[in-house]
C-alpha cells in the first residue's frame, strides 16, 4: 500500500475484501485437508477497491513454485507462501488479463498434462519415430 497515494490508502484494510477472502481461504484449506475437496475463487466477481488486489497478492506472498503456461496467451500459475493456495492469472495473446483465480488444491488441474493432449502428442511422437526409423533403415540399407 502506497501511503503517498490518498485514494489507494483510503480504504482501511479491515473494511475491504482482503480479510474476508483470507478467512475464506483458511476454510478452503480445511476442506482440502479434511475432505480432499478443492476450491476455486474467481477474483473477477469481487468489487475490489483500487490497490486491494495488490494487498491480497502481498498478503498471500510467493511460494516455492512458479509456472508459466503458453496456451492461447500466457498464464502464470504460482504457489503462494501458503502451500496449497495457488494464484492463477490467465492472459490472452495480447497480454491482457482474462481471468484471475485463487485455487486451493494440491495441484491446479491446468498444470496436469491432459489426456487429449497426451494422446495427440503420442501420435505425433509415433509418427516422427517411424519417420526417424525409416530414415535409419535407409541409412543402414546403404
Amino acid at each position: 500500500m502506497n501511503s503517498k497515494d490518498p485514494i489507494r490508502s483510503a480504504i482501511p484494510y479491515r473494511r475491504g475484501n482482503v480479510k474476508p477472502l483470507l478467512n475464506e481461504i483458511i476454510h478452503a484449506l480445511d476442506r482440502l485437508l479434511d475432505d480432499d475437496e478443492p476450491t476455486v475463487i474467481d477474483l473477477a466477481s469481487l468489487p475490489f477497491a483500487p490497490g486491494e488486489l495488490e494487498q491480497l497478492e502481498q498478503a498471500l506472498g510467493r511460494g516455492e513454485l512458479n509456472a508459466e503456461l503458453d496456451a492461447l496467451g500466457k498464464s502464470h500459475i504460482r504457489e503462494t507462501a501458503y502451500p496449497g493456495v495457488w494464484w492463477l492469472e490467465h492472459r490472452n495473446t495480447a497480454g491482457e488479463i482474462v481471468g484471475r483465480y485463487i485455487e486451493i488444491t494440491r495441484t491446479p488441474e491446468i498444470l496436469m498434462s491432459q489426456d487429449a493432449d497426451i494422446g495427440a502428442g503420442r501420435a505425433k511422437l509415433r509418427d516422427s519415430f517411424e519417420d526417424t526409423g525409416n530414415e535409419f533403415n535407409k541409412e543402414a540399407a546403404k
Binding site: S45, P47, A49, P50, A71, G73, N92, T93, V98, I110
Partner: protein, 351 residues
C-alpha cells in the same frame, strides 16, 4: 443449409491444446458470472456448440456500442467467440456495401431461417421513415423484416434497449426501442452507453454455450450482470455508510476517494456490472476515476433530472408555484380569520 462445424472442431483445427481450451472455458465461466464449478459443464457444452449466424443492425446510434465491443481486444475470449459466431451482416464492419451487403443479409436470413440472432444497436425513428435509412430501407422495415426469422433479438446499448438519447425529451424523431416494436421474439436488453463489452460477448457466449438466452430482470437485462446496483457493489460504499462524501470535484473528500452521492451519483438506482467487471480490460470504472455514475443502463437516464443533482433531490417544479401556494394559503387563512372573527363577535354579543 450448410454444415456448421462445432466449436470443438474449430478449436482443434486451429491447433488449440486442451489446456488452452480449459483456460478458455474458465474465462467463459468468469464472463458468464458462473461459479468455477460450472467449468466442466461449459467445456462439455462448448465442444458440441455450433456457431450461430449473427446479423447486426445499426439504426439511430453513434457507433459507440460497436466501438466498445471492438475495442475489447481480447482474442482468447471475444475473438474466439467471434470466430465461433458467423457475423454475416454488420454495415460498419463488413467490407461489402450497398446491394451486396443487403444480399448477404438476405442470404444469411434464408440459410439460417429461425435460428439466427439479430443484434441491434440504435433506436428506431417512428416520426418519419426518412429520418434514418440504410440502402434506402427505413429502419423500421429493416428491423421487422430481419427479426421475422430470428431465434432471438439482442438490443445492444441504451438506444436499442430503451430509446436512449434519440428518445430523450423532446424526442424529435419519435425514436422507440426494439422492445417497443418487436413483441413476438425473445429480446435481451444489454443497455449502457456504451454497454460493457464483456456483457455483450457474455450474452453471445451464453447462447453459444447453452443454446439459450440468459435469465432476465424486469427491464429484460441479464440478471447475471444487471442483478445488483452499482451502489451495492461499490468499493466506496463504506464511505456512504460513514457519512463521508465528496462535496465538490476537487475537495479533500474527492481526493480521498469518498462517496460521490452528493455529486449526483446514480449508483443506488443503477443496475450494472461496472463495479466488478470494470472497463478497459478491468482497469477501473467511472466512480473509481472520481466521477459519479450517470445511470446509463437505466431506462430514460437522460431525462432523470440532471447528472449532478443528488439522487435524493426532489423536483418541486418552479419556485413561483410554491409562492403561489403560499399566497393561496394567506388568502385561505385570511378568509378563515374573517369567518372566525364573525363567530367570535356573535359569541361575545350573546356572551
Amino acid at each position: 443449409m450448410k454444415t456448421i462445424p462445432t466449436l470443438g472442431e474449430i478449436l482443434q483445427a486451429q491447433g488449440v491444446s486442451r489446456r488452452g481450451f480449459m483456460k478458455y472455458c474458465a474465462a467463459t465461466a468468469s464472463l458468464l458470472a458462473l461459479p468455477p464449478a460450472m467449468v466442466p459443464r461449459i467445456a462439455n457444452a462448448l465442444e458440441q456448440a455450433r456457431r450461430p449466424s449473427v446479423i447486426w443492425l445499426s439504426f439511430q446510434e453513434c457507433t459507440g456500442c460497436t466501438e466498445s465491443l471492438t475495442r475489447s481486444s481480447s482474442p482468447t475470449l471475444e475473438g474466439l467467440i467471434f470466430d465461433s459466431i458467423s457475423l454475416d451482416y454488420h454495415h460498419t464492419l463488413q467490407a461489402a456495401s450497398g446491394d451486396a451487403a443487403e444480399a448477404a443479409r438476405h442470404a444469411a436470413m434464408q440459410e439460417n431461417m429461425g435460428q439466427y440472432l439479430v443484434l441491434v444497436d440504435g433506436s428506431i425513428p417512428m416520426g418519419n421513415p426518412g429520418f434514418s435509412t440504410i440502402a434506402g430501407i427505413s429502419n423500421y422495415d429493416m428491423l421487422m423484416e430481419t427479426v421475422d426469422g430470428a431465434a432471438a433479438v439482442v438490443a445492444i446499448g441504451s438506444c436499442a434497449a430503451f430509446g436512449g438519447i434519440p428518445g430523450a425529451n423532446p424526442n424529435p424523431t419519435g425514436a422507440v426501442s426494439v422492445q417497443d416494436l418487436v413483441k413476438d421474439k425473445p429480446i435481451v436488453n444489454v443497455p449502457g452507453c456504451p454497454p460493457i463489452p464483456m456483457v455483450i460477448t457474455a450474452v453471445l457466449a451464453q447462447f453459444l454455450t447453452f443454446g439459450q438466452l440468459p435469465e432476465l430482470d424486469i427491464h429484460g437485462r441479464p440478471t447475471a450482470f444487471f442483478g445488483q446496483t452499482i451502489h451495492d457493489r461499490c468499493y466506496r460504499r463504506p464511505f456512504y455508510e460513514q457519512g463521508r462524501f465528496a462535496e465538490t470535484f476537487d475537495d479533500e473528500g474527492a481526493r480521498k476517494g469518498w462517496c460521490l452521492f452528493k455529486l449526483g451519483c446514480k449508483g443506488p438506482i443503477t443496475y450494472n456490472a461496472c463495479a466488478t467487471v470494470k472497463w478497459n480490460a478491468g482497469t477501473s470504472f467511472p466512480i473509481e476515476s472520481g466521477h459519479p455514475c450517470l445511470g446509463c443502463s437505466e431506462p430514460g437516464f437522460w431525462d432523470k433530472g440532471g447528472f449532478y443533482a443528488p439522487l435524493s433531490t426532489g423536483k418541486f417544479g418552479s419556485g413561483e408555484k410554491l409562492a403561489g401556494a403560499a399566497v393561496a394559503g394567506v388568502a385561505l387563512g385570511a378568509a378563515a380569520a374573517v369567518a372566525g372573527r364573525r363567530r367570535q363577535a356573535k359569541y361575545t354579543k350573546e356572551g
